[in-house]
């Protein structure tokens, strides 16, 4: 593993049980330490599948994954301790308050006592949720839920944070708050890997992107590199459309 690389993926393949074709077809990727890495692609390209395998949700069919010097197969529980995951869908207990949710998930990461309480207080404050934290999550707006969903993944100060489409269905205000905080986290040394199909957002936010379609990485580099690589393209969106051929997706 190269110095400065935090995630190394070689020949990652995933064929779901009963599927005719692999969802991910031999992906190889290197993600640098402290990067904001965007995994971009149309619906059904294999983004969620790739991220899920990296988070240890289910095993790959084949391929090698190394995270922060640890092998995925042998060191899964150690890897989970340094990784934070923000799922695509809200994963919170609707009848518990934000504080109760965070207290539970914090404990599941092995945090407890005053340390945990202070962290929860700090993040609720940062995300403007201190008042709302006493209410049940099912009384929250979509944007508020997204923010709690994010806090639950960063209480244990992960080295690597995975986010699967964190800005889908979020109003512009909440989206900006989230992006700002992700930048702050990144400034403090967290490597961020995120998926999106908002090319505009990715172009400004990511330090590196990879474009995935049909389970294969078809292009990668910094946003600027990609834009200059294709004639007549002025932004990431036109590169993306050119590469994925304007095909309609389900």
């Amino acid at each position: 593993m190269e110095q400065g690389t935090i995630i190394e993926i070689q020949g990652l393949t995933k064929t779901f049980r009963g599927a005719l074709e692999p969802a991910v077809k031999g992906i190889s990727l290197s993600i640098g330490r402290n990067e904001i890495f965007g995994l971009l692609g149309p619906n059904g390209a294999g983004k969620t599948t790739t991220i899920s395998i990296l988070c240890g949700l289910f095993p790959a069919t084949s391929g090698k994954i190394n995270i922060d010097g640890m092998d995925m197969k042998g060191d899964l529980s150690n890897i989970k301790q340094i990784v934070g995951v923000v799922p695509q869908d809200i994963a919170l207990y609707p009848t518990l308050t934000a504080r109760e949710n965070l207290d539970f998930y914090g404990h599941m990461y092995g945090l407890s006592g005053k340390l945990l309480k202070d962290k929860i207080d700090m993040w609720l404050e940062n995300f403007g949720l201190t008042e709302a934290a006493k209410r049940k999550v099912n009384t929250y707006s979509g944007g508020m839920k997204r923010r709690v969903n994010l806090i639950a993944a960063i209480l244990h100060d992960p080295k690597i944070l995975f986010l699967d489409e964190p800005t889908v269905g979020v109003d512009v205000q909440s989206r900006n708050v989230i992006i700002d905080y992700l930048k702050k986290l990144n400034d403090n040394g967290t490597t961020i890997i995120y998926t999106s199909h908002h090319m505009d957002e990715a172009e400004h936010f990511c330090t590196k992107v990879a474009i995935i379609d049909n389970g294969t990485i078809i292009e990668q580099g910094t946003p600027a590199e990609l834009i200059s690589r294709y004639d007549g393209c002025h932004n990431l969106e036109s590169v993306f459309l050119q590469l994925t051929k304007r095909r309609l997706r389900d």
Binding site: K80, P87, I90, Y105, M108, Y109, G110, K136, A152
Partner: protein
Amino acid sequence: MIKKLLASVRKETLLLLRDRVGLAILFIMPMVLIFVMTLIQDSAFKTLNEKGIPVVFVNEDKDSLGITIEQGLRGSTLCAFSDSIDGQPATYETAKNAVADGKFLVGVVIPKGATDAIRKNVMQLVEETMSTDSVQTIAISDSVDITIFIDPITKKSFLTSITSSLREFISIVKTKIMFQTFSDQIAEIIPDQEKKPVNAFNKTQIIKYNEVFASKQIEEIVPNAVQHNVPAWTIFAMFFIVIPMAGSIMKEKNEGSVFRLHTMPSSYLLLINGKIITYIFVCMIQFVLMMSVGLYFLPMLGLPKLFMGNSYLALFIITLATAFAATGYGVMVGTIASTEQQGAIGGALSILLLSAIGGVWVPTYVMPGVMRDLSALSPLNWSLNSFYELFLRGAGVEAVWYDALKLMLFFLLTMTVASIINRSNRKI
């Protein structure tokens, strides 16, 4: 590790406290059921067609009365007749012990010389009736003692039917003897039509019944609706936790918490253990509530007070084992079901079924033989049998440990099934 477990117990408790429907199912419904079922039971059981109750018969008489009763019992659909115990002809003592041990629910002993005694009485009666003296001088010198042993769990309504059948057989015998005696007498004397002996006969109770409750209790507990319904519905309620429990497992899957937990350095088993601990506490609270209904609330309605037996240790053991079995079952249903609704319906229906064959609604001994064999498959039945031992026979730990062990094995089985299914579901 302990902190993680405590956190998951705390989470589970909060979720449950905020689930109003779940709380109602767990605590209100079974309390209402105990009240309703106990109150309506008497009338409901009277119309119940009770069949095939195991009866052991000891015929020391070997004359008309004994033979008639034996024929009657053998021919009755009410009884499963037997006159031997473990291959040996039954005697007064062995019959009494067999009933005390629960091998038979009722024992009937016709003493030696019973027919002769009746004959003597009838003769005397007939002579007095036929004599020119007044009817009121009827004196019965000798009565027959038929002993009936009764297992305390036998329903009162069944007892009524068995004693009334016995009375019927006896009156058949009496009539026969009477008829014979009369025929003999009539042959000698010209009958006086004004002095039919019918009235005198009806007024006379020749045979006395000794109803002995064959319990090893010193102070005998009379079986009643309370002693059956309180434990039966307590067990039912404990198993009914399957609905909120499976619901909570399903919700966690649907709401994504399980997904998130799989990305965390804590095992899913820890989460499940948190649930099991919480729901075992729930079962214990249910138990205390239901018992208090039997001890304090039912007597307010004029029903008998619950008798809880002599061994609190045995009671604790069987209750805890029942709680384990119930929570294990909840975990299994929650794991197998693929939607919340499926879990709730499947859970409720299976508990209704298991409770019906297990003897919660209708005691197993009034069921036909095939059903009785089936009922031994229901964990609710294992638990109920142990409660009968404690509440009706006043037994101790020795009477419940086997059922408790079976319930714990059931818990292990359900957990194994759940974990196999869970593992195969995660293989995608």
